[in-house]
């Protein structure tokens, strides 16, 4: 379990390097929302909160979904608040869908 956390932190370190190089400035609000976005992406990708179910490729698809969604919401000019609401709705919908699919069997 500790190894998994360490791997996660190493990946985040790599991500932070890329992000700071890409954006070109550093700020203490730089990674704001990254934790919740990553959780959202994993949940949309079908990883259960209780663990033990999910896959990395599906989580990557979830990342693409969340990222496309948020950037398009930005393009069409929604507020940050509205973007957060829509992201939350997407996560709720994903969890509901997965749990419905579980129960239907």
């Amino acid at each position: 379990v500790i190894a998994v956390y360490i791997i996660c932190s190493l990946l985040v370190v790599g991500s932070g390097i890329i992000l700071s190089g890409y954006v070109g400035y550093v700020d203490r609000y730089l990674g704001r929302g990254f934790d919740l976005d990553s959780i959202a992406a994993a949940v949309v990708g079908g990883v259960a909160f209780s663990g033990g179910r999910g896959s990395l490729v599906a989580a990557m698809a979830g990342v693409m979904l969340v990222e496309f969604l948020s950037s398009w919401l930005l393009i069409i000019g929604m507020d940050v608040q509205a973007q957060l609401i829509i992201k939350g709705l997407v996560v709720i919908g994903a969890v509901a869908l997965y749990s419905l699919a579980e129960r239907r069997s």
């Binding site: 370190v13 934790d35 990708g45």
Partner: protein, 257 residues
Amino acid sequence: VGQEIYREIAVLLAGVPINLSGCNVFVHPYIHREPFVSSVGQKSVPARPLSWSPRLVIRRYGVYCSLALLLLIALVVRPEVYRPESLFLILRSASQLGMVALGQTLVMLVAGLDLSVTGVLVLTSVVIAQVGAGHKQPDFARASDLACLWRIDRPGERAADHQAQRPAVCGDARHAGAHSRRAERLHPGHPQRPGPERSESAQSVARTAAGLVRHLDGFHRAAGVRPVHDAILVAGSTPSAATARRLGCRALRSTAT
């Protein structure tokens, strides 16, 4: 043991068991079981027949289906997002979230949640920035100076004008107090056009903010849309109507980064 390792890797990578050994030497009934149960030390159970119940489809392919649905909707509603530079921008910003989500997925697979992602990310960025700046004395004021307002892209202005444009530094609601007072002192009365007597701090703000504007500008140009906001509030705090009036903006919107 080799089969177990292959199977774990395959399930971890694809979520679907694949026979990675390339031949049928390692074929085992367990391989065709539903993922994902860590099975080290378990007895193998007989295979379940592969079925196409909706439950299985949703669980395995729901993400891909909804992603395709989203892409289709975007294709219908706003086809200009399919320009290649726009797609590359989105992919590039997805790579960072992708790495974070990769680690987060691993943590969630063992029934945990890593909430330290933000902190580690910011710490890494700051350390990298300082290392890249040549081991200089850390300038913590610089980071919070970035909580400044920046006018961007009124319709009709050319993109090249923004690089020449001076930063509009002013405090926002969250950083009211020292920084706004300092900004006022630096640029009294003329937030958009700071005078030639700008201090080192104001210059650093100008540099970073100019970089940010170039970044956002490229984003908008690549997306092929007119930016909808007159000002972008860095650090995502809530702009007040007073600052909007002071900057002469019609509307203020805030964005995360």
